[in-house]
Symmetry: C2
Subunit: 145 residues, 2 copies
């Protein structure tokens, strides 16, 4: 796992989002995660287009609109924490790899963002891959870490 990307380090002390250009989606997404970790719902709202859509492909759930999305996050149970380990930005698309923690439970989240011309988030697709035991038969090729 790669955590040495200095580009993601700035997300921990990133200022309030003021996205203003298409190229700004990387900064918007960094601010998005910073605001999420801080439960700063006003700052989080500022990263989102009004009619944004949030999807969870694993459950096939969809949330339409900024207000419903913010409520989903506000109501999400548990003392959760998120930290951006990787952020890959490409014009109006960004992918992030986030380390999430709820108590002693640690998880990965992988998220694809799409932005508009103002650098605000219009679509989020969020994956929460769970740990599993490797199938037998490939121990000759793998090590565990």
């Amino acid at each position: 796992m790669t955590t040495d990307d200095s580009r993601t380090d700035s997300t921990t002390d990133s200022p309030a989002p003021s996205p203003s250009a298409p190229a700004g989606l990387a900064a918007t997404v960094a601010a998005h995660w910073t605001a999420t970790e801080a439960r700063d719902w006003a700052a989080l709202a500022a990263t989102l287009a009004e009619d944004m859509v949030y999807e969870l492909p694993q459950t096939r759930e969809r949330i339409r609109g900024k207000e419903a999305f913010l409520r989903f996050y506000r109501e999400y149970p548990g003392d959760w924490h998120v930290r951006v380990d990787r952020l890959v930005a490409d014009g109006d698309q960004v992918a992030t790899w986030v380390h999430a923690r709820v108590g002693t439970e640690e998880m990965h989240a992988v998220t694809f963002f799409t932005g508009d011309a103002q650098g605000r988030i219009t679509a989020i697709s969020d994956f929460w891959p769970e740990p599993y035991e490797p199938p037998a038969g490939r121990e000759h090729l793998t090590e565990r870490y």
Copy 2:
């Protein structure tokens, strides 16, 4: 299972993408998935640095080196097919969202690639998020699709 193991020959005489610049990682990764779907092991090998590392964070398995990685893919069971739905490229990093199919089973794969100065892949982190049932209590915010 369709294994085209007649092609498990030398990986050195590949017809190959010849990525030559850091910006070429997007093309390398596209070629990587095309070669994977085609079981074109020589072309796949050409996308990889010799000492590349492959990791599956969900199982905490790690495979070291191009040859072991190629063998892992060659030996992978099932009549699997992959199609790239999204590719996000950012210098020496690329993230992809791949639709995978094995028979009637459909899956998502999310993969982070790191490249070297020659545009070859040095590290792959591969996630295979599985479907799950949504927890109760958020039906007021979500629709299913």
